[in-house]
Amino acid sequence: MGFEKFGSVSFTSESKAVDFLKFLEEDKMMTTKCQKCGKIYFPPKMDCNVCGSSETEWIEIDEVGKLVAYSTVMYGPAGFENEVPYTIAVVKFPNGVQIFGRTSKSIPIDNIKVGMFLKPAPIKLPPDKVSYEFVQS
């Protein structure tokens, strides 16, 4: 699997972090942790810019986070015209990482509030793409 399988429209074909997508396919939301200095990253980084190590391990994000910012997009960029409206959001987790993504359409737009509890859930985008979305915990 190449990195172009990520999301509705991907602009990246290759990345050392491609296992992120393999895990999504296995219904797991993972990110990387530096094996040497222990720094946890999101988005995943296969190289640690704190200690210079490229030895990383994948760890699962199974916590619940808090919504810190969001916006419901009415006009999408090219390739997303048919998906609007959708809500982009950043959720902050207890381990310090912040994750950018969309909220699930199962959450009514009027119910979306800064401070609400959300967790990321892997999703499949037919026919063969993967992503994740935020769902209520």
Binding site: Y70, V73, G76, A89, V90, V97, V114
Partner: protein, 385 residues
Amino acid sequence: MKKDVAIVGVGQSPFYRKCGMGARELCFMGFQEALKDSNLKPEQIDASIVCSAAEYDKQRSPASVIADYLGITPAPSFNLETLCASSSTGVRVAYSLIKSGLHDIVAVIGFQKMSEITSHEAAERMGRGGDIQWESPFGVTMPGYFGMVASAHMAEYGTTPEQLARIRVKSSIYGESNEKAVYRKRINVEQVLNSEIVTSPLKVFDCCANADGAAVVIMANAEKARKITDKPIWVLGLGGSTRGTALASRLNFTSVAVSREAAQAAYEMAGIGPEEIDVAEVHDCFTIAEIVAYEDCGFAKPGEGARLIDEKQTYLGGRIPVNLDGGLLSKGHPVGATGASQVGTITRQLRGECGKTQVEEAKIGLIHNLGGPGFYNYVTILGRD
């Protein structure tokens, strides 16, 4: 006050929705005005820096053809890009070229012909405005990023859509008297609030529009500056900051980290604080961006930016007048030209040339110029003799 490098000439084309001419011809308009302003001839320009966001240019590496069209070859020229902050970065680089002694007189040429590409091409580029690996696959937009900032600012500090609308109302008042602005019609709070939502909570009138335009700043060392003009405008402070594209790496969403850091660095270099700024231009690509800029530049404490607009403290006659040329919201935002246009406005304010929008006795001015949704900010502090 350091008097090493000065602005000796500024010029700007009108900003247009669609200019109906070539990019090099747009640049010619801005450059000729700057030449007249400084009484310089093209052959006196020792080097030029051509600033634009290359994603809108059909011409690969436009510095060459533009320098040729302006008649400033074979002096060295090159392209420089930091998205919307390109020409403020140009001012910073011109300062270093002059201060190092490498060149005496340098022209910073900012331009963008955004109407060059189709709306589909523009929508495609917009989608790549963030981190293409981790964000673009979700369908990000530039207004979307600032909508997120607005949501956080509203939740944390209680900022309201009415307060955002007041920023646009101020912009429309000053835009009305700027002959080079795209939008010159006054609008009221209700019109802003009743306009269509683009991306929550931002509405059509909360957003600036793409535009075509060029703006030019000519800078010189102290010796030349004294000979060129009796009103040199000195570069007192320069501050810059860069941060990663990924939203997830942001510290918080109620402030723009690069703006705070760049302002801090510029104040430090100038040896002054925000209370000494008499007039400012801030990057109001969206109404919320101006409120956050008040806070990031230190004109208001975090969370109190909206109060400045409520109390009209950023109007002419207020404590710190901001964007008296109408800002991006009224002028339009030809990405590469915006910073040089802001620098032009502050230069003319400090020379006392702004007529009915003139801030009385303006001695020190600040320019805050953001690139992308928080990738870059370059802050410039200028002062008169």
